[in-house]
């Protein structure tokens, strides 16, 4: 049906900048090559195609990064992003895990997207996003390189998230001065958002405090075909067919999409009523075909009496947060700052979500990168587990 195909392509090109369209279309194209009809995944080609960056001790835009081995048994790596301090711009080899000095430092545990199968913590797009989060929230960001489907199905990704959470919670160097506790936030986009939810549930059940959840276009689903799925199927980069493939790849074999991992408030889900669940910020893109499930998630939280802020970005497609060339991006980043992280009294006074004055401040402020500070770096060290 070449005719309707053309219409689809044209519609979607009208709502995103050209370079965004090229970026996301390229992902879509590559991902089509990787998914096999029999449910297997061309992992070698996926790794070949994924664009990555190494960690960088040299501060770039005031942020430096290094990788840690969180769990030797599973080979679970995470990338830590920290703000470079003004007095000592280049961290010494022994100072990577230097205790944070501020009264309150948010620690954001980030789970990258990719529908449980694609990308890694060191994928360039996610490295960029994590660096941004450090700047916006004055936070330490821990990006978890969780095991992916289909080679590692449910609950591997959740287990890895849980392992990372425990690890973060037990780092004395991440404790805020104010109360000697680690101020943990969970964040993620797409499958990462789904993981953040499930890890939060586990945290609460185990008595670890999570201060907030930030879910960007979180990946949820269900057996039923919702109105948004039918209406938007194939229109804005994503098809129902690929969504189904990824669930089949992640969920235990034989399970359907009403499995609670996919549909946490569905027929097999459980209510979170009475549980001290973290407050949530749920961002939904208006052109995301699974928005009905995301809205159902928000409703599920509300019904259970949980605090949730729902940010609906009407004209946004999936991946809008990957490039800073659209207003949705800036609005959402501003909201994340407000919800999750430090803000001075002055900023709070000025805060109106999406207000031009705040946007302008963000763009012209030190959060954006001006120059690359090239200076000699120090190498780092593998310590024993």
């Amino acid at each position: 049906m070449a005719g309707s195909n053309e219409i689809n392509l044209n519609e979607c090109k009208m709502v995103v900048p050209l370079n965004t369209w090229v970026l996301i279309s390229n992902f879509k194209l590559a991902y089509n090559l990787l998914r096999r009809p029999d449910g297997t995944f061309n992992r070698h080609l996926a790794e070949f195609l994924d664009r990555r960056v190494p960690a960088n001790l040299n501060p770039v835009g005031g942020v430096f990064s290094f990788d840690v081995l969180v769990d030797r048994g599973t080979g679970l790596l995470s990338r830590i992003y920290r703000p470079a301090s003004a007095e000592e711009p280049q961290p010494n080899i022994t100072e990577l895990e230097k205790p944070v000095t501020e009264e309150v430092v948010p620690v954001i545990i980030f789970f990258h997207g990719g529908s449980f199968a694609h990308s890694s913590a060191n994928s360039t797009i996610y490295d960029n996003l994590c660096r941004l989060l450090v700047g916006i929230c004055k936070a330490v960001v821990v990006s978890v390189n969780y095991r992916r489907a289909p080679e590692n199905r449910y609950p591997c990704a959740y287990d890895d998230g849980w392992t990372a959470l425990k690890w973060v919670n037990s780092r004395s160097w991440l404790q805020s001065r104010k109360d000697s506790k680690v101020h943990i936030y969970l964040a993620g986009d797409s499958s990462g958002g789904n993981i953040a939810h499930h890890v939060a549930v586990r945290a609460v059940e185990s008595g670890i405090d999570v201060l907030g959840n930030i879910l960007l276009n979180p990946m949820f689903g269900g057996q039923e075909r919702t109105e948004s799925e039918k209406r938007l199927d194939g229109k804005y980069f994503v098809t129902l067919r690929d969504r189904d493939w990824y669930w089949r790849a992640f969920l235990p074999e034989g399970e359907d999409r009403d499995h609670p991992a996919c549909n946490p408030f569905g027929p097999n889900g459980r209510s979170l009523e009475g549980i001290k669940f973290p407050k949530s910020l749920v961002v939904v893109a208006g052109f995301d075909l699974i928005q009905d499930w995301q809205l159902a998630y928000v409703e599920g939280l509300k019904k259970a009496g949980q605090e949730v802020k729902h940010l609906y970005m009407e004209q946004a497609t999936i991946g809008f947060y990957l490039l800073p060339n659209n207003s949705h991006f800036h609005i959402v980043m501003d909201e994340i700052n407000y919800q999750a992280c430090l803000y001075s009294e002055e900023e709070e006074f000025q805060h109106v979500a999406g207000s031009i004055s705040v946007l302008v401040k963000r763009i012209n402020g030190s959060d954006c990168v001006d120059e690359l500070q090239v200076s000699s770096y120090t190498g780092i060290l593998a310590l024993c587990a």
Partner: protein
């Protein structure tokens, strides 16, 4: 470097005060789209629309037969995914009719395909002779990005040891030898409290020894890099067996050489360091199985002279000849004995103008680097005569590390991380004595990097980004290693039980690393014909 304010053609929503500089007239200097570059993709701003159109065509083509695509993807060889225009075009040629606006040069096999694309851009951009040289963002980032770390849980003693190693190195650099000496004593003591099985404890001992040698014995190196050629060969062989780095090097180089030799009946490989000739049986066998039959293969192996009257080069040659005979490959071997690579003269190699020549350098080129950047340094001389022989391909494998910095402290810290990562990866090896001897192999390298100077310091590793600049400047251009090489390298890794290894692709080069830190990088090169270079520099 993340540039949020460079050229981004916005077709839709507003972007606040971000500058949008898309103008109707094409700028005289081509610019890449800054935002896409930030995401790891290189597209000329002026080509963005074309790339989008081609993506659309590809999508339409795929829409017609979706099931075929994953199968085709498994079989196709794809190159350099960062170069979006190139990548989309190669997919189009695989899966659809080639675009009508492009020249017919785009068809045919990938090796030629990329050559055509490169020279097309060379012709169009007289100020940018090499496609990749324009992209300073990427090079800068890759140059600065060597400082990755993998830390596991803290161990107080481990951290103290690191701190002391750094302080000691600092003292050595500033000349405070008495403090350095007392630190050595303290560290020896501390070593007994630290877990020496893995991580820092394991290599700390080697670094303490190397520092000690530097302080007490001066920097001639003496017996550090010593060890006879025979000893070195043994250590090399065990390092080869214990971990995948050298296998990856051989494998990747052979793959590229095989492809470069396609269609040639007389081929000649020059190996800069024959050792036991471990790399060549696989190539000989692959050539034997070549459709259309094997070529005549000449192998010239360079190596140090044998002190005891044996001609070890010739012995290796004989064994390889035996293998070649058994698989019906016509084979001729020549050994060139030289203590140093710079002593080799091109006439010794007896290259025949009619044959296709491949130069193979596995961790040899860095030995030609000195600490001063003088004119006519050995590296320049050697690269110059290599180029003069117009090889079909030059495979270069080097340690992915910055161990040739002038400052001692910088070098020391870089080496500390590099070798502790490498040593950590050795943990996966279960066989002895391979593991123990591989450890000694590493120890020798550490010793050279840390305690030697001047001509004694031969382990002058430089990262791929620097080699790219150096080789491009010397008149070579990169031949991209593709997805098949990547896949096969990845599959090689699955033979090792350890999960921590990973292969990465970066601008047509492959690297092998442990726990996300690249440790060894492989690339392939071809001499730019003199006439092309002349045109592009005018």
């Amino acid at each position: 470097m993340l540039r949020y304010d460079s050229t981004s053609s916005s077709a839709g929503s507003s972007s606040g005060s971000l500058s949008s500089s898309s103008s109707s007239s094409k700028p005289p200097q081509q610019e890449i789209d800054g935002l896409l570059a930030g995401a790891g993709y290189k597209v000329w701003s002026s080509e963005l629309r074309q790339v989008a159109q081609r993506l659309e065509r590809l999508e339409t083509a795929m829409g017609n037969s979706p099931a075929d695509f994953s199968q085709l993807a498994s079989d196709a060889i794809l190159y350099n995914p960062s170069d979006l225009a190139c990548w989309v075009d190669s997919l189009l040629t695989e899966f659809a009719e080639p675009p009508p606006t492009c020249s017919s040069d785009f068809i045919v096999d990938p090796v030629n395909n990329q050559t055509v694309v490169n020279s097309a851009w060379t012709a169009a951009e007289p100020h940018a002779p090499q496609v990749h040289q324009n992209i300073t963002y990427d090079e800068q980032q890759s140059l600065d990005n060597q400082s990755t770390v993998v830390t596991a849980t803290e161990e107080d003693s481990g951290i103290r040891l690191v701190h002391m190693l750094m302080t000691c190195a600092e003292c050595v650099q500033s000349g405070d030898l008495s403090l350095a000496t007392s630190l050595i004593d303290d560290m020896q003591g501390l070593l007994t409290h630290v877990n020496t099985v893995c991580g820092i404890g394991k290599v700390a001992g080697h670094f303490i020894d190397a520092l000690s040698r530097r302080i007490f014995q001066g920097m001639g190196g003496g017996s550090v890099n010593g060890g006879s050629a025979f000893e070195n060969e043994i250590l090399y062989h065990h390092f080869y067996e214990a971990c995948p780095y050298l296998k990856f090097a051989h494998f990747t180089a052979n793959q590229a050489i095989l492809e470069a030799f396609d269609g040639h009946d007389c081929v000649h490989v020059v190996d800069f360091n024959l050792m036991h000739g471990l790399q060549w049986p696989a190539l000989i066998q692959a050539l034997a199985l070549r459709p259309g039959g094997p070529p005549l293969l000449r192998l010239t192996g360079i190596g140090p002279p044998s002190p005891d009257g044996r001609d070890s080069l010739r012995e290796i040659g004989l064994r390889l000849a035996e293998l070649a005979r058994s698989v019906n490959v016509r084979f001729a071997f020549r050994g060139v004995a030289a203590s140093r690579l710079e002593d080799v003269k091109p006439w010794m190699l007896q290259v025949n103008p009619k044959e296709a020549v491949a130069f193979n350098s596995i961790m040899q080129l860095h030995r030609l680097l000195g600490s001063e950047q003088t004119r006519n340094s050995p590296i320049d001389t050697v690269l110059s005569w290599i180029r003069g022989l117009n090889p079909k391909i030059m495979t270069v494998v080097e340690q992915e590390a910055n161990h040739n910095q002038p400052g001692f402290l910088d070098r020391f810290t870089e080496a500390l991380y590099y070798y502790s990562t490498m040593s950590d990866s050795l943990e996966a090896c279960r066989v002895q004595p391979e593991k123990a001897l591989a450890e000694i192999y590493i120890q020798r390298e550490i010793g050279n990097v840390v305690s030697c100077e001047g001509s004694a310091r031969v382990e002058r590793h430089e990262p791929l980004a620097k080699w790219r600049r150096r080789l491009s400047g010397a008149g070579f251009r990169a031949l991209h290693l593709g997805s098949n090489a990547f896949k096969q390298a990845s599959m090689l890794l699955t033979l090792f039980s350890a999960e921590g290894y990973s292969v990465e692709e970066n601008e047509g080069c492959l690297s092998l690393g442990w726990h996300s830190r690249p440790l060894i990088g492989a690339s392939a090169w071809q001499a730019v014909p003199a006439w092309e270079n002349h045109m592009s520099s005018s």
